[in-house]
C-alpha cells in the first residue's frame, strides 16, 4: 500500500507582495533585485504589513475547497537558516492558519471520482530565487540571489495522505491548478509548486522536494515507490528523511535525515497583530466566486447526467468547462471516453487542441449513424491533438449507405455460394463468416450490426 500526501504552493494573484508594497506584476521578467524594499530584503528595522488582498484570495481558496474557517488567525515565525531566506525565518502560519479541514472533488486515472481531504491552508511568504554557480546544488561553488521573489504571497495547501498512486497525485495537481485559475486565485505567471510525502507499507514517511512540474512529481514518486519497495523487500529500513529530486539523473537523493531536521522553534510573529475573519466578509467573497465544481456536479445531475459521470467530469474542472459547451444527448458518455483517451495517451486537458464544437461534430456523426461507434473512438484519438484532420477522418470513415451495403452483400453472396446456402438454414457460424467477409469487402466501413441484420433477411 502506498500513501502519498502533497504540500502545494500556489502564488496568489495579488498586485503586491504579502508584507510589503513591491509590485508582483510581470515579476518573472523584472531585472534582478529591482523589486525589493527593506521589508522583503530583511533589512534591519523593516517591518511587515499584511496585504489585505492576500487574505481575500486565501479565503476564496478556502471557500472553494470547502474549508473550515477560524474566527481569527495569526502568523508565526518559522526559524531556519538557508541562503534564500531574507530573515532566516519565514512568516507563515502554525497554530491557527487561515483555513483547515477542507476537501476537493477529484477523479482517479480510471475516471472514478474521489474526494481529496485538505488538511490546512497557510498564508506564507516565498523565499528569494537561488542560482547555483559552478555545479549542481550540492557541488556549486557559490550561489547568486535574486530577492524579487522574496515575499511573494503563497498559499500552502496541505492534503491528507490520500493518494494511492503517483498518477492520482498528478491528476489532482492539474485539477487544483485549473480550479485556482478559474476562481482567479492563482498568479498568472506561475503554476503550482509541490512537495510530496510518500510511504509504503513497512516504511517511514519520506519527503520529496525540489520537484518542478506535475509530470516530474509523478516521476519522482514512481522512483520513490520502487526505491522504498526494494528496501522493504531486502529487509532494510526506509528511514524518515527529506530527499531532493534530481530531474536530470531522474533519482532522489538524501537531503537531510530526521536527526538533522531543523528545529523551527515557532513563535508568534510579534510584528503582526491578529486578523479576524468575519462572516460578513465571507459573504462578500463568496459572491465573487464563479460556479464551483461541486455546484456543477449538482447541476449536471439535475440535468440528467448520471451521478458517477457527473462527478467524474466535474472532478476535472477543465473537462467540466469543456463539457458545458456540448449539447448532444450522448455527450456525457463521450466525455468519459475523452477522459480515458487522454489518460491512456498521457495527454493533459490543457493540451487538447480539439474544440468543443469540433468534438460535438464527431458526436453528432455517431449519433446519426454516419460513423460507427468504433470509428468515432478511433477518430477521437487522432483528432485530440490534430483537429484539422477531423473533417477528412469523418468523411473517410463514414458508414456505408443501405444501397452501397446491399451491393457489397450481393457480391459476397455470389462468391460464397455454399456459405449462403447454409446461412439460409439458420447456421450461426455461416453468419459470422459472411459478416467477416462483408466487413472486409467494405473496407470495415460497414456497421457489423447492420450487416448482420441484412444477412438474416436474405
Amino acid at each position: 500500500m502506498v500513501k502519498i500526501g502533497l504540500e502545494v504552493h500556489a502564488y496568489l494573484n495579488t498586485h503586491t507582495k504579502l508584507f510589503c508594497s513591491c509590485s508582483t506584476i510581470g515579476i518573472t521578467e523584472a531585472v534582478e533585485n529591482s523589486r525589493v524594499c527593506p521589508t522583503c530584503l530583511g533589512l534591519p528595522g523593516s517591518k511587515p504589513v499584511l496585504n489585505s488582498s492576500a487574505i481575500n484570495v486565501g479565503l476564496k481558496i478556502a471557500l472553494s475547497l470547502q474549508c473550515k474557517l477560524p474566527k481569527e488567525m495569526f502568523f508565526s515565525r518559522k526559524t531556519y537558516f538557508y541562503p534564500d531566506m531574507s530573515k532566516n525565518y519565514q512568516i507563515t502560519q502554525y497554530e491557527i492558519p487561515i483555513a483547515s479541514k477542507g476537501k476537493m472533488e477529484s477523479a482517479d486515472e480510471s475516471g472514478k471520482p474521489f474526494s481529496v481531504s485538505i488538511t490546512r491552508l497557510n498564508l506564507e511568504e516565498d523565499p528569494a530565487k537561488i542560482e547555483h554557480v559552478g555545479g549542481s546544488i550540492t557541488e556549486a561553488k557559490y550561489t547568486l540571489l535574486d530577492y524579487n521573489r522574496s515575499g511573494l504571497p503563497l498559499c500552502e495547501i496541505v492534503t491528507d495522505p490520500v493518494f494511492k498512486t503517483p498518477r492520482q497525485a498528478r491528476l489532482f495537481l492539474q485539477n487544483l491548478e485549473a480550479v485556482l485559475r478559474y476562481i482567479g486565485a492563482l498568479h498568472p505567471l506561475f503554476s503550482l509548486k509541490a512537495d510530496a510525502n510518500i510511504s509504503v507499507t513497512g516504511g517511514e514517511r519520506v519527503e520529496v522536494k525540489n520537484v518542478t512540474g506535475y509530470r516530474e512529481v509523478e516521476r519522482a514518486l514512481q522512483f520513490e515507490i520502487v526505491r522504498q519497495n526494494n528496501l522493504v523487500r531486502r529487509g532494510e529500513k526506509v528511514e524518515r528523511e527529506t530527499r531532493l529530486w534530481d530531474a536530470q539523473a531522474k533519482v532522489t537523493r538524501t537531503m537531510r535525515k530526521k536527526e538533522t531536521e531543523e528545529d523551527y522553534g515557532y513563535i508568534f510573529d510579534p510584528d503582526l497583530p491578529r486578523f479576524s475573519i468575519s462572516k460578513e466578509s465571507m459573504k462578500i467573497i463568496s459572491k465573487t466566486l464563479p460556479e464551483l465544481p461541486r455546484e456543477k456536479i449538482a447541476r449536471f445531475i439535475k440535468s440528467g447526467v448520471p451521478r458517477e459521470i457527473a462527478k467524474s467530469i466535474a472532478g476535472d474542472l477543465q473537462l467540466a468547462l469543456f463539457f458545458e459547451k456540448l449539447k448532444s444527448k450522448s455527450a456525457p458518455r463521450w466525455m468519459l471516453l475523452l477522459k480515458k483517451t487522454l489518460n491512456y495517451n498521457d495527454i493533459l486537458v490543457s493540451e487538447i487542441k480539439l474544440s468543443p464544437e469540433q468534438f460535438e461534430k464527431l458526436i453528432v456523426a455517431v449519433e446519426k449513424g454516419e460513423l460507427s461507434e468504433r470509428a468515432g473512438e478511433l477518430i477521437l484519438r487522432e483528432a485530440i491533438l490534430k483537429p484539422e484532420k477531423l473533417t477528412k477522418l469523418i468523411e473517410d470513415n463514414r458508414t456505408l449507405s443501405e444501397k452501397e451495403l446491399k451491393k457489397i452483400i450481393s457480391e459476397v453472396i455470389k462468391k460464397e455460394k455454399s456459405a449462403a446456402k447454409i446461412l439460409r438454414k439458420g447456421n450461426r457460424k455461416a453468419l459470422e463468416f459472411l459478416v467477416g467477409k462483408v466487413m472486409k469487402a467494405s473496407d470495415r466501413k460497414a456497421e457489423p450490426k447492420n450487416v448482420k441484420k441484412m444477412l438474416r433477411k436474405l
Binding site: 534591519p44 517591518k47 504589513v49 526559524t79 537558516f81 532566516n88 522553534g265 515557532y266 510579534p270 497583530p273
Partner: protein, 434 residues
Amino acid sequence: MWIKEAQELDKKYNIFITLAEKAEGKFPLAVKDNICTDGLRTTAGSKILHNYIPPFDATVVQRLKAVGAAVVGKTAMDEFGFGTFSVNCAYKVPKNPLNTDRSCGGSSGGSAAYIAASKHAKFALGQSTGGSISCPAAFCGVVGLTPTYGLVSRYGLIDYGNSLDKIGLLAKTVEDAAFALGIIAGHDPKDSTSLPLERRGYAKHCIPQDLKIGVPKEYFESVETGVEKAVWVAIKKLEAEGIEYREVSLPSTKSALFSYYIIAMCEASTNLAKYCGLRYGLSENPEGRSFNEYFSSVRTKGFGQEVKRRILMGTFARMAGYREAYYLKALKVRANVIAEFKRVLKSVDVLAAPTMPMIAPRFSEIASLTPLQHYTSDVLTVPANLAGLPQISVPCGKSEGMPVGLHFIGNHLAENKIISAGWFAEKIFGGKHG
C-alpha cells in the same frame, strides 16, 4: 557648534558610536544607535553591523527631521540593547558624566549621558525593551519617558523583542520629553503594531492634576538603603504638597521578570537570525563554502558574548520539548501581569516607585556580577515594560552623591497622568522648573 560639542563630549564620555559630519537644523538630536538613520551608519551597537548604512529613516527620525531636527550622532548602547549598564558594548563603553568611574546605565546609555552633559540638546531618542530608557535616565539624573506600547512607531527600529520594544525619550525636563512625544507619537501605517491614534500634543499635560498614587510594596524589597530613603523622602514631599499615596501590592513582580526575559530572548533569537553575512553587515568570501559553515563563521565573529548567551537561551526556550513550558507559559504569565496592573490601576491613577534598586554602579562592581545578577537588577522596570505601560523617570534626590530616579507608571495610554505627575514632582524636587 552642535557637532563640536558632541565631539568634545564623546572624547570625555564615549557617548557616540558614529558622529554625523554636519548637523544643520533647528535643534540637535542624538539618536540611539538601534534607530535607523538614512545614510548615517547604524550598528545597534554590534560589530555584525559595523558597516551598515540604512537606506531609509525610522519614522520617528523622519518626523523629528520634518520639524527641524539635526542628527548629531548615533549613541552608544549595549549590543542590540542587551544590557542594563551599557557595558555589553562592541564599541567604546560610555561613562556617566556625573562620575566617570560609574555606568551611565543601559541600554540607552549614550543618549542619557548626552542629555546629562550637553548644553544645547533638550531631548534625545532612546528605546526601551525592559527598562532601557528609565534606567539610564535614573543613573544620569535626567528625565526618561517610555510611552505605551504601540503609541510610537517602531518602523526603523532594529528589533530586540518586538512585542516589548518602545521608542521613547531622554530629556532635560518633563516638558521637553512631553513636547517631543507629541512629535513622534501617532499612528504609522508602516508598523502593524502601531495604535490607530491621531497625533496630538502632550506638553499641555504639564499641569497639576488631582492624582491618586499607589506605592507597590514589592518594589522596595531589594532596594539599596540610600535609594529607598531618597524615594520615601520624595513621596513624603509629594504628600506634603497634597498628593496622597497609598500602598498597593503587585505580587507577580518576580514572575514578570522571568516571563519578560523568556519572551524577550525568544523574540530576539529569531530577530538576530537575519545576521548571517548576506546583503549587509559583516561578511566573508562565500566561495567554496557551505551555508551552515559560512553562517556560523560570520555569526560567531560578529556577535559578542551577551548576544550569544541570549541567542542560546532564546533558541532553547522555543525548541520542541521546551516551548510549552517556557515560551507559551511566559506569554500566559504576561497576561496575568497585565491583568494585575490593570486591577491596581483602577484604584489609583499612577504607581510610584524607585526606578532602579541602586544608584549608578562603578564599573568595577559591574565586572563582578553574574549574568543572572545583571538580569535581576531590572526587576523594577521590567514588569511595566512587559505590560506595555507608559512610564516616566524623574530625578528625585541623591544617594552617595549620585542621582536617584522616581518612577511613575500609568495605565495604557495614560501618558497625560504620568506626565502631570512627573512634571509636578520635578517642580517639587527642584528640577529645571519652578
